[in-house]
Each structure stands twice: as structure tokens, then as C-alpha cells.
């Protein structure tokens, strides 16, 4: 019995880091208060299909397609509100609480007047295997979860695709 328990625990410990971490991005109270809400869900099979939208002729598009094909999912939730700060400003903490020890802050831009952007990366060694992007403005809250191995140099090419907001470009404009 003890042997069985030992093997069971060992199996569990081995399996746990490999299992995909499902992050809950759905906050019903946000949807209730929002004037506009958009949810985009692209699972692995849909991403394979979406990969076809990028031609193999152009090197950049080929690179993006390869990255998309390696992903397990892209999930976007975006909410717009009628007045400022109608939502809980500490929502970020609730998302962060779900993330394991491998998740590290990658980008953290705080502003009292403009939008705030927080990017958390799931670091496995020197590889990024997941990203959570939270962009918040007084009247808008967007959360994106990209699940799967990510080439950070090519990440910006996904901006504007699949509902992922423009982050670097808007920031460059500012």
C-alpha cells in the first residue's frame, strides 16, 4: 500500500508541471457591468486552422505561422465600461493568484493617467511557455492568455491578430 502511494505521489509530482495550467479569465461581475464585451477563444485545433491564414511565401508570416502552430490556445477577454473604474482595480491580483511559481513579471507599466500594462510570463528554464497580458484603462479592461511556447522576438507580430491588442506600437506612438 505504501509503495502504491509512493508511486502515485511520484506520478502526480511528475505529471503536474507538464499539465497545461488552465487560467480562469472569466469574471462574471465584469461581464455584468461592462457596456461592451468581447471574448475570443482559439484552441489548438483552431490555431492550426488560423495558421493557414498566414502565407508561407513571406519569411515573417512563415515565422508567425510556425509560432501559432506550436501554441495550445489564445484567449482574449475585453470589456468596455460606461464610466471610469467601474471594475475592480485589483483584478490583476486575482489573475496573478492563479499563476504558479514559474510565472514571472515580464513587463509592468504603471500610469495614473494612461493605460497600465502587465505581462506575466511562464518561464521554464530560458523558454517562455505561456503569457498573460493585462491591459487596463479607466474604461477598458483586456486580458489575454497565450498558452504554449512563445518566441518573444516574434510576439509583436501577433499584435492586432486574433483580438490581441497593440501594445508596443501604441506605446511607441505615445
Amino acid at each position: 500500500m505504501r509503495k502504491f502511494l509512493f508511486v502515485f505521489l511520484l506520478t502526480l509530482l511528475t505529471a503536474m508541471p507538464a499539465a497545461a495550467q488552465k487560467i480562469n479569465l472569466d469574471f462574471p461581475e465584469l461581464a455584468e457591468r461592462a457596456e461592451e464585451e468581447v471574448e475570443i477563444t482559439l484552441d489548438a485545433s483552431m490555431l492550426r486552422m488560423a495558421g493557414k491564414f498566414f502565407s508561407g511565401h513571406d519569411a515573417d508570416e512563415r515565422a508567425v505561422r510556425d509560432m501559432i502552430n506550436g501554441l495550445s490556445g489564445i484567449y482574449v477577454r475585453s470589456y468596455q465600461f460606461g464610466s471610469d473604474w467601474e471594475y475592480d482595480r485589483n483584478l490583476f491580483k486575482r489573475v496573478k493568484a492563479q499563476l504558479g511559481a514559474t510565472w514571472k513579471p515580464f513587463v509592468n507599466v504603471r500610469s495614473k493617467t494612461k493605460d497600465n500594462v502587465v505581462i506575466m510570463a511562464d518561464m521554464r528554464g530560458d523558454k517562455i511557455t505561456g503569457l498573460v497580458i493585462i491591459a487596463s484603462e479607466p474604461r477598458e479592461f483586456t486580458i489575454v492568455n497565450i498558452d504554449g511556447p512563445i518566441d518573444i522576438e516574434r510576439l509583436s507580430s501577433l499584435e492586432g491578430e486574433f483580438g490581441i491588442p497593440h501594445i508596443t506600437k501604441e506605446r511607441d506612438r505615445d
Partner: protein, 155 residues
């Protein structure tokens, strides 16, 4: 002749359940208070033509329109669609504007190299339910060129 009729019946019996979900959803929405299904003349004929010709990679489509701006709770209709749609469909886009009262739910099911899309959309007084079975490669090619996107949207 009997053999041919039997084969046709068998084929129909096998083929029908594949798209039975659309009819069930349409009927369930029709039973919903506040909306009434509109009859579209020659729609069956158009569907047959599409199934034979397959224009722009479209293998099949079904369409149901509903009129009425009664008290429609999108969550309720979303529940109807999600409970009655066939296996394999996953939500792709859910957009809802409480400001304008417009909402749309798009579900997708990959079938080999084809994509089956189920769209339920509502604006002021109309609710539309569409199912499209389209060739993914053709759709990808069409949407890749911005000019084609414009052309497809206008159609």
C-alpha cells in the same frame, strides 16, 4: 427503382442528423417569446445550388432569420445554441454591446480541411442564425488579400 429509392432514403437518414442541430436551434429560438421566424423564399433551392456548385469553397449553408425586438436575453439564446449544437463546436467569438443592443456569438467546428461556422447575431429587430460549411484553404486565400476581404464582406 426501389433499390435507388432505398439508397436515397438511407443516404438521407445518414446525412440528416449531421445538420439536425441547426434545425433544433432554429426551432428553439422560434419558440422563444419575442421573436418570430421569417420564411425566406427559394432558400432551399439556393442551398441545393450551393451544395452542387460550391462557390468560393462554400460546401453548404443554412440560414434562419427572426424578427421581433421583444425581450431577448442574449444569455438565454446563447444557452439554447450551446445546449443544442452538435459535438465539436467551440465558441470562437462572443461579442455583446449593451449600449447598442447588438450581439453576436460565433462557434466553430473544424472538419478536416473545412470549417463549420455557426453564427447567431442580433441587431435592432433582427436575429440571424447562420451555419456555413466552408473550405479552410479557400477562405484563408480569400481573406489573405485585403481586396478579397472587402469583396467577401460586400457579398
Amino acid at each position: 427503382m426501389t433499390k435507388r429509392a432505398l439508397a436515397a432514403l438511407l443516404l438521407l437518414a445518414v446525412a440528416l442528423p449531421l445538420h439536425a442541430d441547426f434545425g433544433e436551434i432554429a426551432r428553439a429560438i422560434d419558440r422563444h417569446t419575442g421573436v418570430k421566424r421569417q420564411w425566406i423564399p427559394f432558400l432551399g433551392l439556393a442551398r441545393t445550388v450551393v451544395r452542387v456548385i460550391r462557390p468560393e469553397g462554400v460546401h453548404d449553408f443554412q440560414l434562419a432569420t427572426f424578427e421581433g425586438a421583444g425581450k431577448i436575453d442574449p444569455r438565454e439564446l446563447r444557452g439554447i445554441v450551446e445546449s443544442k449544437m452538435g459535438a465539436g463546436f467551440t465558441p470562437l467569438v462572443r461579442a455583446w454591446s449593451r449600449r447598442s443592443g447588438e450581439w453576436s456569438f460565433i462557434y466553430v467546428r473544424p472538419i478536416g480541411n473545412r470549417i463549420e461556422l455557426m453564427v447567431l447575431a442580433h441587431d435592432d429587430e433582427d436575429t440571424v442564425l447562420v451555419r456555413v460549411d466552408v473550405d479552410a484553404d479557400v477562405l484563408a486565400k480569400e481573406l489573405h488579400e485585403p481586396r478579397n476581404v472587402h469583396r467577401v464582406a460586400r457579398r
